[in-house]
């Protein structure tokens, strides 16, 4: 029943050209290693879905993997824009990029509808905005009980979601802590789920704290043990966010040649995440290391 495999095999089995994919995470636990493997395997015509495309989607777009972005905020948080995203959206370089645009709340509600098998999700969103005119998956809907109204979004159900967590057993039951983002509903909404973790643990560890579980084995197709798999994003309690790398990307990505060189060095030039981490070097890892700060224990009780 173990679903443990390499990222190479998980991506080659799980992701096909043309798929809609959701690399989940809100700032925290972004699946960079999975994105790089997708680039290395030269997947094409992907629909990239996520609230915050972040650097990893900028890299996928720069590498020519994407045909469409479904998103709500395409920027480099605290730094500026996503240069490759803009080049593709504004000038079709290296490929045309179709956009399907939401607000954060709208996209998350759509994903929640997808996870819930609902034909739509209602939200008090988009009100007063010009966005609904440009997206057919947003519609005004009246309350059946009074003269109130909301907007509805159509469900989003990605072909593949890649989600990360701190630890999982080999069947794919996973614990996540820190910022949860939309990791759970991305996993629930998608057909195929690749779960990548910092640590493999026993099923007993998972069962010791069931309230910490973000997804269970039935929804997981592949489990990848990929330490530092979120760098330059982070894993709460394991390593910090490499803000320098985010700041540097702004410059690298503004120039097509520099992007190519960067991809050659950091993606095509390494075989897997382990080689990438070795290349990062111990000094950088140590700089990102937090001090320990354990949660106050809880007692579930053993009942007879």
């Amino acid at each position: 029943m173990s679903k443990v495999t390499s990222m190479h095999d998980a991506i080659s089995t799980g992701v096909s050209d043309g798929d809609s994919i959701y690399l989940a995470g809100f700032t925290h636990l972004i699946p960079f290693a999975a994105g790089h493997e997708i680039i290395r395997q030269e997947k094409r015509d992907l629909e990239l879905i996520r609230a915050t495309p972040d650097l990893i989607y900028d890299q996928l777009i720069a590498a020519g993997c994407a045909r469409k972005a479904t998103f709500s905020w395409a920027g480099n948080p605290g730094v500026g824009s996503l240069p490759a995203f803009r080049r593709a959206a504004e000038d079709g370089i290296p490929t045309e990029l179709e956009l399907e645009e939401y607000t954060h709340f709208g996209l998350i509600a759509a994903l929640d509808a997808g996870a819930s098998n609902l034909p739509f999700a209602p939200l008090r969103g988009f009100i007063g905005s010009d966005l609904p005119e440009h997206n057919d998956n947003i519609a005004r809907i009246e309350s059946p009980f009074d003269d109130d109204y909301v907007y509805a979004v159509a469900p989003i159900q990605p072909d593949v979601a890649v989600i990360r967590a701190q630890r999982a057993d080999d069947a794919g039951n996973a614990h996540l802590w820190g910022i949860q983002g939309e990791v759970k509903i991305a996993g629930l909404a998608a057909d195929t789920v690749i779960l990548s973790v910092e640590e493999l643990c026993s099923e007993e560890t998972i069962r010791s704290d069931p309230n910490r579980t973000v997804i269970t084995s039935d929804d997981v197709d592949h489990v990848v043990h990929d330490p530092y798999g979120s760098h330059p994003s982070y894993a709460q309690g394991y390593y910090g966010r490499d803000n320098e790398a985010y700041i540097e990307w702004a410059e690298i990505a503004s120039d097509v040649d520099r992007v190519e060189a960067w991809l050659d060095e950091w993606v095509y030039g390494v075989e897997n995440r382990r080689e990438y981490v070795e290349k990062l070097g111990a000094e950088r890892l140590l700089d990102l290391q937090p001090e320990h700060s354990y949660a106050t224990p809880i007692d579930m009780g053993a009942y007879r």
Binding site: F71, E90, T103, A109, L123, I127, D148, G178, Q236
Partner: protein
Amino acid sequence: MNYTKSELMVVAAARELENDDSVLVGIGKPNLACNVAKRTHAPELKMVYESGTIGSNPSSPPLSIGDPVLASGAVSIEPMRNGFNYYLQAGRLDVGFLGGAQIDKYGNINSTVIGDYDDPTVRLPGSGGACEIAGHVDRTLMVTPHSERRFPEEVDFITSPGFVDGREGREELGLDGGPEAVITDLAVCRFDERGEMYVDTLHPNASREDVRAETGWEIEFADDLGTTPEPNEEELRLIREDLDPNEMYTDQAE
């Protein structure tokens, strides 16, 4: 005191915050403003981030709204759906900070495109959380440099609603609250009973002409036009020593 325009902007924003506010914090100057407020007149300020962290108490200023310093030591962390659904939509947040490439005279914000939506001159990041923040907090605060390009009479695209086409327009849509203040490098602007932006206080050394030159419509001035109060020593010390020692978000006076 010696201070810069950006320091004044941070402090003016901090002073908009009240002690029992729950504030949806943005990155950059808004984050500094919240931290200045919390360490001076608003120690009970509850800082909430779009990433779902509630009651964050960051040990150092975060670069993004999802940095690990916002999670460690927070009072609660909510999945995104809960944050938007239960906190923002249900009216649990009093204040939100927003920015944008364009702000118009009704306080509507554009952070989507310059030019035509389908063939934009500039593709901006988009709404993110902004549209619903603008719709659901009681008071929206905007912190942005003053320039004619940034202050057109009408935005190219409404990403986040201000008073739409006036206070009545916003009300008809069923939205409460609205824009409270726009803090620029020249002035603090507020909104009149029609929902139009006017200049409430001019910063020291800024003139009516400076503001007129950098605003895309005939902006009005308060009858009792005041001067923005200067930052005090403690506020400046906090910015320079504790919150932004590397001048990432502020230029700092010596």
